[in-house]
């Protein structure tokens, strides 16, 4: 009885939930893209070309510390995106009977959540560069920079393809 009332309430507000979901989807998907492609990427490429250049190393460290901070918006949006996604699922009655929805569930559970979990760790938890700098552990700081750069480089093709595909699934519902 309660569950049915809840479903009715959600169905009544479906378009509002969808609007909120889209706003968080946009923040999650693109809030770091300018910082990555126009600042972090050229700075890291510059450092890779001249790994002993002290100015380039200092710039690299500064950029990565700022990027950790810059990922906050994305990481606030992601859990809210998941919550509004579940609400939309309940409101619209989607199930894995819909192929596009089953595919989207798979992407969320097996691609987005693992990537974001690692990203939270790298940007805000154990590998937050500002915290590592404050701890004075320069070796660990350097390892964190390398790990974070590997993570960004490897996840870039995944992010480009899977987020584009997720948007396509949600909008076109092709199968």
């Amino acid at each position: 009885m309660f569950f049915e009332s809840l479903l009715d309430l959600l169905a009544e507000h479906y378009f509002v939930i969808k609007f909120v979901h889209l706003v968080f989807a946009a923040i999650w998907a693109w809030s770091t893209s300018v910082a990555y492609s126009n600042y972090l990427l050229p700075i890291f490429r510059g450092w890779q070309r001249a790994p002993d250049d002290k100015e380039k190393i200092a710039l690299r460290n500064w950029a990565m510390e700022r990027f950790d901070d810059g990922a906050k918006l994305e990481h606030i949006a992601f859990p809210l995106l998941l919550v509004t996604g579940v609400l939309m699922m309940l409101a619209a009655g989607w199930t894995p009977d819909n192929g596009w929805f089953a595919m989207k569930l798979v992407l969320i559970v097996l691609v987005f959540i693992p990537i974001e979990a690692m990203d939270y760790y790298l940007a805000h938890l154990g590998c937050n560069k500002e915290k590592l700098r404050a701890s004075g552990d320069a070796e660990r700081y350097e390892r964190a920079i390398h790990l974070h750069w590997w993570f960004l480089v490897v996840t870039m093709p995944i992010v480009i393809a899977s987020i584009t595909f997720a948007f396509f699934l949600a909008v076109a519902k092709p199968f």
Binding site: L41, F44, R45, W47, Q48, R49, P51, D52, K54, I57, A58, R60, N61, T95, P96, D97, G99, A102, M103, L105, V106, L107, V109, L110, V111, R133, G136, A138, E139, Y141, E142, I145, H146, W149, V153, V154, M156, P157, I158, I160, A161
Partner: protein
């Protein structure tokens, strides 16, 4: 008082980023295989579990998963090599 001319330990600890073409090839292979070995079976399992139909395991679907896995592996390899500045030998 802090010595402003003392070397920054976070700069002194920096070391070059060593990315080998072989590592990138393995990463791209793993990413391509992930689609075929993990994502597609998970999707198929979910569909079969929910609908009880085996149509998802059709030849066309399996072939599509293989092709997408291969194309994605190649895309990932090209993008990672480009980002890391790894040139053709």
């Amino acid at each position: 008082m802090t010595d402003r001319h003392a070397p920054d330990p976070f700069i002194a600890a920096a070391r070059p980023f060593n990315a080998r073409a072989r590592d990138v090839n393995l990463i791209a292979l793993a990413l391509g295989l992930y689609i075929f070995i993990v994502l597609f079976p998970a999707y198929a399992f979910l569909r079969i579990w929910w609908t009880g139909e085996l149509a998802v395991l059709s030849f066309a679907n399996i072939f599509t998963a293989i092709v997408i896995g291969c194309l994605f592996g190649l895309f990932a390899r090209a993008l990672i090599r480009h980002t890391l500045g790894i040139r053709k030998p």
